[in-house]
């Protein structure tokens, strides 16, 4: 049976949408198990692969060059890419350091350098093309389900 090949990726954030996603499994597991193949979902499985996928769900903001490179790799592998939750869609609250005054920026600068964090935190759409947005902090469950169902239909799974 053909399944939707899905990746679930997380960058800089609190992973609240990942938690909502794992809670949605409580009531949707039986429905999704025959329809979705998780290519990459670190929260759910130990074996994750970098392969072509139908849809990449991407949570979190981008706060380093390494994260930016990883996101571009995901974009290249995914036919569709969905930005998940507030940090991915609008940057906040992960991008709150963008708004710090100069004294607070000076205070954190040493740590940004130590851990190779970028000067500015970016949204997903500031780095790659995004096909859909699921806003919310955490993500709006109904919009997520509508988006997932849209792709299940588009890829002829249902």
């Amino acid at each position: 049976m053909k399944k939707l090949r899905v990746g679930w990726f997380t960058f800089t954030c609190c992973e609240d949408s990942t938690i909502i996603f794992t809670e949605l499994l409580n009531t949707h597991f039986q429905e999704w198990i025959d329809r979705i193949e998780f290519i990459y979902a670190k929260v759910l499985q130990g074996k994750n692969t970098w392969k072509d996928m139908d849809v990449a769900f991407v949570e979190g903001a981008i706060s380093s060059a390494i994260q930016e490179e990883k996101l571009r790799k995901i974009r290249a592998l995914a036919k569709k890419l969905v930005s998940i939750g507030a940090c991915a869609c609008v940057g906040m609250p992960s991008s709150q350091r963008n708004t710090f005054d100069s004294s607070a920026k000076t205070e954190i600068n040493m740590l940004l350098l130590r851990f190779q964090q970028a000067e500015w935190v970016k949204t997903i759409a500031q780095v790659v093309a995004v096909d859909d947005f699921v806003q919310g902090c955490p993500m709006n469950e109904l919009v997520f389900l509508q988006t997932l169902n849209k792709y299940l239909k588009e890829f002829n799974i249902i």
Binding site: Q45, G46, L111, F115
Partner: protein, 429 residues
């Protein structure tokens, strides 16, 4: 073998909350480097809240962590209310306990069913459990039934199970409906046998790694997670105000998170510490149904953290049933807030252990300075020691098996990297 030399790098540890990595170096048969690094990017919450109005801070700091969000929310409310001498009503306390019990069921459920059970059954994922094997079929369905009940308890008590919107300083902006909570009682009763089965699974699990550490937890006679005094396995008791003075900050240059020790000793917080120090205060019904499992405690086997979490889930179920019956849904508004220059401290037991918030506030109701110490920061050095101890004893184990065993050890601690990495490192005077 004395001539064993190798490096082992785990760049992405899976089935944990957040991002972590490990660098291990073995030279001449000895562990010469063991660096457990929390690799989540910092988000500088304690810097971001400076100058923010106190009313908005609890909901903002809840965003430190998705899975522990309601623990941060409850701890932040407690710290600010302590500073402003706000006395919350018995009903508010009852509802906060209910919300927290929902969190305990949901969050321990995530850890035990989704992250740990695949190790017990040699599966890569809970989703790979075989429905044709009765034991796996049963646990797969238990997983979702139990987690959903905890999730629903959070949704009804707090408006949402993650970043609960009903809670505010001094009370609730919207009270949960009594009938909605009552409808959960059959569901709570229904998951009791499922959790008892989970307790049996972990009671019969032979994973073992003992560690000599001090256990530390907030203890009270109700095992409420939200109140009490701090106690250690060395029979030391101290107040909330003394906490930060007794915990020693340790800079870990390769980790995005700060480590902590109890003076010069390793300490561990979390379910194992709580059960070791306070098992007699568990709900009477829980104690009655878990006599065999409770006999394992006190324990220094870090894998018993899993068993302790399962017992706590049952305690959360039993306590929630009592609280729902007691809840009378009295119409009441949040207490009045009068800002003043003050310092407030809040300590609670988050699912993963003792959580500390200290807020210094200005006379016009803004945050001057905030300090937050999270459980995973406190357990981080202990995790490193546990890995090093295990590898030293199993130096000749094939690398892939060694890597798997190391991941099991890390998961036993149930670390939360999102919590641990989102602060500016602080210097205490």
């Amino acid at each position: 073998m004395h001539n064993t030399d190798f490096n082992l790098t785990l760049s992405e540890i899976t089935k944990v909350e957040g991002a972590a990595s490990l660098n291990l170096q073995i030279r001449e048969g000895k562990v010469t480097k063991c660096q457990f690094a929390i690799s989540e990017m910092k988000r500088f919450f304690t810097t971001a809240i400076r100058g923010k109005p106190i009313a908005g801070v609890p909901q903002l700091v809840a965003r430190i962590c998705g899975t522990c969000s309601n623990a941060h929310l409850l701890c932040s409310l407690k710290s600010i209310e302590h500073g402003l001498k706000i006395k919350i009503s018995p009903q508010t306390l009852l509802l906060r306990k209910l919300l927290n019990y929902g969190l305990i069921i949901r969050d321990h459920g995530l850890h035990l069913y989704i992250f740990v059970l695949p190790d017990v059954f040699n599966r890569d994922s809970i989703l790979a459990f075989d429905e044709k094997i009765p034991a796996q079929h049963r646990l797969l369905h238990d997983c979702f039934a139990v987690k959903e009940t905890g999730n629903q308890l959070g949704i009804i008590a707090g408006g949402r199970s993650v970043h609960a919107p009903f809670l505010t300083l001094g009370g609730f902006i919207k009270l949960p409906e009594k009938n909605a909570l009552l409808t959960l009682i059959p569901q709570l009763e229904e998951i009791r046998p499922r959790i008892l089965h989970l307790i049996d699974v972990f009671l019969n699990c032979d994973f073992t790694l003992t560690q000599e550490v001090q256990f530390l937890a907030l203890c009270d006679k109700e095992y409420s997670f939200l109140n009490g005094f701090i106690k250690t396995s060395g029979n030391i008791r101290f107040s909330d105000e003394e906490f930060s003075a007794r915990i020693q900050r340790v800079d870990i240059p390769y980790s995005q998170a700060t480590g902590y020790m109890f003076g010069n000793q390793l300490h561990m917080v979390g379910a194992l510490a709580r059960i070791n120090l306070n098992k007699d205060s568990l709900h009477q019904r829980t104690r009655g149904d878990t006599i065999g499992a409770l006999a394992k405690f006190p324990s220094h086997n870090i894998f018993h953290n899993n068993l302790a979490q399962a017992i706590e889930m049952l305690h959360a179920v039993d306590s929630s049933i009592d609280l729902i019956h007691k809840y009378s849904a009295l119409p009441e508004k949040p207490e009045e807030i009068t800002p003043c220059e003050s310092t407030g401290i809040g300590i609670i037991e988050a699912p993963r252990g003792t959580l500390f918030h200290k807020m210094e506030m200005t006379a016009i109701g803004k945050i001057n300075k905030g300090t937050i110490i999270v459980p995973t920061g406190q357990n981080q050095i202990g995790i490193e020691h546990a890995i090093s101890d295990y590898v030293s004893l199993h130096i000749n184990q094939p690398k892939d098996e060694l890597a798997h065993e190391i991941e099991k050890i890390i998961r036993a601690y149930d670390p939360c990297m999102s919590c641990a990495s989102h602060f500016l490192k602080i210097k205490w005077s």
